[in-house]
Symmetry: C2
Subunit: 246 residues, 2 copies
């Protein structure tokens, strides 16, 4: 029985797992559910689901739902196939990888998802850099109050996530000045786990600056996002239609 | 509970059902299974499965697996929504529609699938028109015997399906000279049911001639293939990747 993944590749949780399966050359089935109604397709598979993306993973008797647990399971169980250094060449690297996996889960994923979520609401031409508490432009005075309130909330969310990510990526910048990858000289789960959310940041110029303005982080992102495994996941994320999702 | 369709939209059986659901504006879920292994994705969803494409349809307590039965079920159960003439405006048309559904299933689908299957094996530059029993070109003398035998088989399959389809489409040509659509003046299940296999014929210039060389059949194909329902199915059939499937 091949491994089964239930979920949409557009989800960061699912994308993380698929990348790992491609890295390890594991045979698997991806089971996707798309919902349709009437003249417009429901954009379900493109919906932003920052804090709760459905994922189920089955491997024989093992059923898991947390993506980073699934990464560990795959890297352990299939250690002799595919790319072999996902858990590093030794125990020392493994400890470091675990540390970075924690950092990614607790300090990177959430503010990244928050930032992407806030940007989906904010008009692309709204100047954001350094606005901070400056709030909405004068034109917003004509908005419906509930819309205005939502925009204010989103501006605050953007600003908060920008500060949190900025501080975190300064640490990354330093680390990636010492080593090529987060846990040392090899691409590991520590790096892999960042791919889905880093890719979302990189997709919008307003968040991509967080990466581009840091030399080592940029170089790292350029290297890890060029892996075949990730390119295949990106292809799977493309919607079947070129029509606008909203 | 929305209607559920299990299968790949690349399958003619599944495509037929999806087109009908879009025509009738029925809410549904499409559940797809894609299989992956190692560095190359298995082209499972693009595989030619001329005589056995997996499809399951669930609507409440009803489970069906034969696409034309499913069309009848959808057109009956959802008669008051979406496009209303799939079963024609009256009993007379319904009899005619049933007759054409039989013709499509027994005389059109099989030779069409055979022709598409044979063309997948035959080199695009091999001249086919009127070869008939002429068989392979002299260059084929250098082929491996098993390959040569397969090619001879495929040439015969092509030739047989071309003759059968030619005769059938002469009848269509006459019918479509009298009426705009197969069962009369309206687009019905009779026409809809032809879409997936006619589309495969139209996709290769070597088989498209069967349509293009007949004025009324061409006009009919142009009209039915322009329906929104079919265009949406075509979008779903596009592979997630632009890479070559084989």
């Amino acid at each position: 029985m091949p491994v089964k993944v239930f979920g949409s590749p557009a989800s960061a949780e699912v994308a993380r797992v698929l990348t790992c399966l491609f890295e390890k050359d594991v045979e698997f089935q991806l089971i996707r559910v798309d919902s349709f109604r009437g003249p417009k397709r429901m954009p379900q598979y493109l919906k932003l689901q920052p804090h709760g993306e459905a994922l189920t993973f089955e491997d024989g008797n093992v059923t898991l739902v947390e993506s980073r647990k699934i990464l560990r399971h795959i890297a352990d169980k299939y250690k002799h196939q595919g790319y072999k250094d996902l858990f590093g060449p030794g125990a020392l690297e493994r400890a470091s990888i675990e540390q970075w996996l924690q950092t990614e889960a607790h300090s990177f994923a959430i503010p990244s998802a928050d930032m992407v979520y806030s940007l989906a609401y904010l008009p692309p031409d709204l100047p954001l850099d350094g606005r901070g508490a400056a709030g909405l432009p004068p034109a917003a005075a004509g908005m419906h109050p509930s819309h205005r309130q939502k925009m204010e909330e989103m501006l605050q969310l953007f600003e908060r996530s920008r500060k949190d990510l900025g501080k975190l990526l300064d640490i990354y910048e330093q680390r990636l000045g010492e080593e090529e990858f987060l846990a040392g000289g090899k691409f590991t789960l520590a790096d892999l786990s960042h791919l889905p959310n880093a890719d979302r940041l990189a997709a919008d110029p307003r968040s991509a600056r967080l990466i581009e303005s840091r030399r080592n982080v940029s170089r790292w992102w350029y290297t890890i996002s060029a892996r075949d495994s990730w390119k295949r996941v990106k292809e799977l994320q493309r919607p079947p239609s070129a029509e606008a999702p909203f």
